[in-house]
């Protein structure tokens, strides 16, 4: 199987408007609260603890980071900013590992491939929900 290129340095903070999903082809399973994910492109196995497993299972390719964090903050009765920080750290790591990617980036790639002139805006632009020095995500495979 062809190896994916190693991800570049990941963003430190993700745009809360970003929509992420599990990279197609990554196999995963939930077992006793943990998620075990296997990336055949790198033959790497990842384990997510029960909190990470919940975040993982929220990566449906439709929900924004802000929506996921809002739901989790409510469910765990925790401050939004604290949850955002923890989830951000987890997702940056997963994106760097190549098992999670920006759903919109797939659209960008598809649009570029089809010669479209009006691609989806670059990932990482600041949103009104959480201002900050966002950097774009590494290019996803």
């Amino acid at each position: 199987m062809r190896k994916r290129r190693a991800a570049k340095q990941p963003a430190e903070r993700l745009d809360p408007a970003i929509v992420l999903h599990v990279v197609p082809g990554v196999a995963w399973v939930e077992v006793e609260g943990e998620v075990v994910a296997y990336d055949p492109a790198t033959s790497t196995t990842h384990i997510l603890d029960p909190i990470g497993a919940i975040v993982w299972q929220c990566l449906d390719g439709e929900s924004t980071l802000a929506e996921i964090v809002t739901d989790l903050a409510e469910a765990f009765a925790a401050p939004y900013d604290k949850v955002l920080g923890d989830v951000n750290e987890l997702l940056v790591g997963l994106c760097a590992a190549g098992v999670v990617q920006d759903a919109a980036a797939v659209g960008v790639a598809a649009a570029a491939d089809s010669g479209a002139s009006d691609p989806v805006p670059a990932v990482g632009e600041a949103s009104g929900a959480q201002p900050g020095p966002y950097r774009p995500l590494p290019p996803c495979p």
Binding site: M1, A27, E30, V36, T45
Partner: protein, 326 residues
């Protein structure tokens, strides 16, 4: 290479060796997804081959079976390995379905390669339908234990110790898990005992002939009345690790960690990652998972027996939900 006509063999090690110049065949055996037999014109190897494969299910007499060929379903084929004296005077040539796969080797090398190719072929024939773990396995009183580990970790030695203690031997090499039932299908090949374990397993010495001088092929033995080929539901996964001089001890492994440890122990994992991961998770859900550091074989067997007793007691108390899948 020209092969003389087959000579039918008896199905026991009591078979009289054929003349060295005549081709001779084992019975046809079933080993997981592989149906096979072995031909040889080397008389001294015949009792060794019968002994080595004596634990496997005999499904046909010598020379029986459908040969490989176009249009024949793989499950119906009989693979024929051969150990032959080459016409050019080379000691022994290893063939598969008539084609040379290892040539001009010393006899011990050819036999070792036969066993290597046999194991590989069994695994390759089984991975399409089963999740095959590089793991030993045994069963007693309905409690199956699977021992996954890399080479040289103590799989064979540990399962030999269990067998000696009265457990039903299932395999020392490849535990085939049915994804639908999560049961292990026995693959009771001879136990491949390396020199490092000869002293501790001295009573299992199979004796002569010993064409591979550095490894015993120990025929399995079973408790009286045991059904050798009945599949087993595993209840224990024990990851063995031999550590000379250390105290034998076990520690529990979290379910997610157990799945992670099983991934590299799964043959051809990348061919069906999602099926394999789902099956491993299902297996882990129905098992207690432990890491076992082995300093001494008798202690390791005692630890496993203690764990099995605990699993049995928990099942009796309803603490373990049999066959539970998430």
């Amino acid at each position: 290479m020209s092969i003389a006509p087959l000579q039918a063999s008896a199905e026991t090690s009591a078979a009289t060796p054929a003349e060295a110049t005549q081709a001779w065949s084992t019975p046809t055996y079933q080993a997981l997804g592989l149906r096979f037999r072995v031909e040889t014109d080397v008389a001294e190897l015949q009792p060794y081959l019968l002994r080595t494969f004596s634990g496997l299910e005999v499904v046909g007499p010598a020379g029986a079976g459908v040969p490989a060929g176009d249009g024949i379903p793989a499950s119906r084929r009989t693979v024929c390995f051969g150990l032959h004296r080459a016409m050019d005077g080379a000691p022994v040539v290893l063939t598969r379905d008539g084609a040379e796969i290892e040539g001009s080797g010393h006899r011990s090398y050819a036999v070792a390669m036969l066993l290597w190719h046999f194991n590989n072929t069994v695994v390759a024939a089984t991975t399409p339908t089963h999740v095959v773990l590089h793991a030993a396995a045994a069963e007693r009183d309905g409690v199956g234990v699977v021992l996954p580990a890399p080479m040289e970790s103590g799989k064979t030695t540990t399962v030999a110790g269990l067998m000696r203690a009265g457990w039903r031997y299932l395999t020392d090499e490849a535990s085939a898990i049915d994804p639908a039932t999560l049961q292990v299908t026995p693959f009771p090949k001879a136990l491949a005992v390396d020199q490092g374990s000869w002293e501790v397993l001295a009573d299992l010495d199979p004796g002569e002939p010993r064409p591979v001088p550095t490894q015993w092929q120990v025929p399995p033995m079973w408790p009286a009345g045991a059904d050798r080929h009945r599949p087993v539901v595993p209840r224990l996964i024990v990851f063995p690790r031999y550590a000379a001089g250390q105290a034998t001890h076990a520690r529990q492994v979290r379910a997610g960690e157990a799945v992670r440890l099983l991934v590299p122990s799964t043959f051809a994992f990348d061919r069906s990652p999602q099926r394999n991961l789902d099956t491993l998770a299902g297996l882990v859900r129905q098992c207690r998972c432990m890491e076992l550091t082995i300093g001494e074989l008798g202690e390791a067997v005692a630890v496993i027996e203690g764990l099995a007793a605990r699993v049995t007691a928990e099942a009796a108390a309803g603490a373990v939900q049999v066959g539970r899948r998430g």
